[in-house]
């Protein structure tokens, strides 16, 4: 290809650069932060948005898929919403802005923009590498979010729900959360939209999980049908820590959800469960890079996808086992229900194993609704539509039920059935 074609900026790239120029002097940050932002934007300018030629973006050609970039999000016109489960503690980020007065019992909570202003955010602001377009965009534009410290041995009785509420426009947020040792907690990271105006959201959660901590972290993405969601979670999993990470996509038009997980403490264990409910003309990509860096750690990953209409889905699962990470036990599965002839799902498992005494496996299935199941249910008087909905629901509900917490299971099953009622 000739050089001119590849270096030409798309409308979306131009709009991003213009948006940045318009915000010079407005974006919060001290000298170090500002310098980093400038560099990240410069990298974006030079490289452009990634195309399918970039391995990590092969199935999600962001340059082609991101067609328009909305203006900066308007003022907060909304309030925090009812939490998913009744007793949850709620922290809201509305149109990309935190509530500076927000507190949560027993937790250290502060606004992220203060960290940008005093420069303490600079250390974690950089992109993860040259292919990290999400980190690049977020690092350039991020304005706010929360910084949360969960002290050692804290046992959170109720879930902590952090709501990212959008009403159209651009919002770039961050959520650094440090869990001390011996913590027990459930956190719900929820992204939703309250209007039909298109939003462009970039978000990075950056969490460290202390020794022996038992954490359930649920990402629930329920954005609008015209929204773009570029999400990333960076996780450092300490010794004997147990993390159950649930990623549920039930919205958005263009979604990239990156999971960057480092298992750095011996005895740590990761359970990743993903549910992708895809419909319309949406494109949703879940990309995981999981590093088992030390001996005696384990992980299981199960991703279930239901794809309707002309929707496209992607799961890339990379497991890297470092040379001294002996006795690693990792199992990955990706199961897809294709509900229409035009639906598509691409799966790319990758195992990079540098240790010789490990167990690593992966498997993928793609099916449609089992005609025998459907017939049997209909033969008992259950009408076809209802039977189909029950079967799809069963396919993903199995995953949710692993959460065990009854209120949470019920709430998430509600999200799933509401989505299915709209799309099935």
């Amino acid at each position: 290809m000739n050089m001119q074609t590849t270096s030409r900026l798309t409308a979306a790239e131009t709009a991003l650069i213009e948006a940045f120029n318009q915000q010079i002097g407005e974006l919060p940050g001290n000298g170090a932060v500002t310098a980093l932002r400038d560099r990240l934007l410069d990298d974006l300018k030079k490289a452009g948005l990634p195309t399918r030629r970039v391995e990590a973006w092969h199935y999600t050609d962001l340059k082609n898929l991101l067609r328009t970039v909305p203006p900066q999000a308007g003022d907060a016109g909304s309030e925090a919403l009812e939490p998913l489960v009744a007793d949850a503690t709620v922290l809201a980020v509305i149109q990309g802005h935190s509530n500076q007065k927000a507190t949560a019992d027993g937790l250290g909570v502060s606004a992220y923009f203060e960290r940008l202003l005093d420069g303490s955010a600079a250390g974690g602001l950089d992109a993860l590498g040259s292919d990290d377009a999400v980190g690049r965009i977020n690092g350039s534009f991020v304005r706010d979010g929360y910084v949360i410290d969960v002290p050692a041995d804290a046992e959170l009785e109720n879930p902590l729900e952090i709501q990212f509420i959008h009403a159209g426009g651009q919002a770039h947020t961050r959520l650094p959360v440090a869990f001390g040792a011996g913590v027990k907690a459930t956190v719900i990271e929820r992204h939703l939209t309250v209007t039909s105006d298109a939003a462009l959201v970039s978000h990075v959660s950056d969490i460290t999980v202390g020794e022996g901590t038992e954490l359930t972290w649920i990402i629930l993405q329920q954005q609008g049908a015209d929204d773009t969601h570029l999400g990333q979670i960076r996780i450092d999993l300490g010794a004997d820590a147990k993390l159950r990470l649930f990623v549920i996509n039930a919205g958005g038009r263009l979604v990239r959800q990156e999971l960057n997980i480092k298992v750095t403490g011996e005895g740590a264990d990761l359970t990743l469960r993903g549910i992708n409910l895809l419909g319309g003309d949406s494109h949703t990509d879940v990309t995981m890079v999981l590093g088992h860096d030390v001996p005696n750690t384990g992980s299981t990953e199960v991703i279930r996808n239901v794809v309707f209409d002309r929707a496209k889905g992607v799961f890339q699962g990379m497991i890297r086992v470092a040379p001294d990470a002996q006795k690693t036990d990792a199992k990955m599965a990706c199961n897809t229900l294709l509900m229409s002839d035009d639906a598509e799902f691409s799966v790319k498992p990758e195992l990079e194993i540098f240790a010789d005494d490990v167990q690593c496996g992966h498997g993928a299935t793609v099916t449609d609704i089992d005609a025998n199941h459907l017939y049997y249910m209909m033969a008992r008087g259950i009408p076809e539509n209802k039977a189909r909905a029950m079967l799809v629901n069963a396919f993903v509900a199995e995953i949710v039920e692993e959460l065990e917490d009854e209120a949470l299971v019920e709430a998430l099953e509600g999200v799933i059935s509401a989505w299915l009622e709209k799309h099935a």
Partner: protein, 275 residues
Amino acid sequence: MTIETDEHGQSGGTWTRLMDRKNEMLEIRNLHARIAEDGTEIIRGLNLTVKAGEVAAIMGPNGSGKSTLSYVLSGRSDYEVTEGDILYNGESILELDPAERAAKGIFLAFQYPVEIPGVATMQFLKVAMNEQRKARGEDELTTPDFMRRVKDAAGKLQINTEMLKRPLNVGFSGGEKKRAEILQMALLEPKLCVLDETDSGLDIDALKIVADGVNALRSPDRAVVVITHYQRLLDYIVPDTVHVLYKGQVIKSGDKTLAHELEANGYADIIGTAA
């Protein structure tokens, strides 16, 4: 009653025929059916009539079309009816899908009940019962009423209700699956019960439990079609009529002695006579 007697007196043989007609729950007329995918004809001009209150046994060697008949009755889309008709209470059901047939009271107890992961048996039962009630314009069952019915019916079939919390048929033994079929039948209270090889894979104790379950459902307004290869089940569910199916046709009909004849002499005699 007195009026009927009067009419009977007046119209003689015609009335008797009308009465018979009125009692005919299932009437299969010159039915031809084939496998939709490859066009193989399995049912080739089958005629059969089953009256309300009747227990009819359909017997036949392997490959005679027994299971196909049960699937065609239930409306399975893998089979196409190319000729003839199936009348249920005087109306053709060929245009109805399996769910509509079920809501009208047709029940098929499967030879191989299907395992459905992720759907709890209890939830499945409740949805099936309520969907059928909705289709008939009846109120949905309250949860306590539903639970009471399930507990009663399960108790009679010696089914542990813990089993019903598991996904439908998943990990059930062969006997448990067959009992679960009869449990569904008892709860759904169908009018026409079709039992496809319900005895296969059952030991004698399980067979008795299942047969008791079926016999408990015998009533003047319900018909049962028992499809079986062996006479054994008919010792426990005693049929009023026995029909021999061969190459997709009923080649001989009789009463329960026909079943004993088959047991003693095998199918060869009858097939030979018919051919």
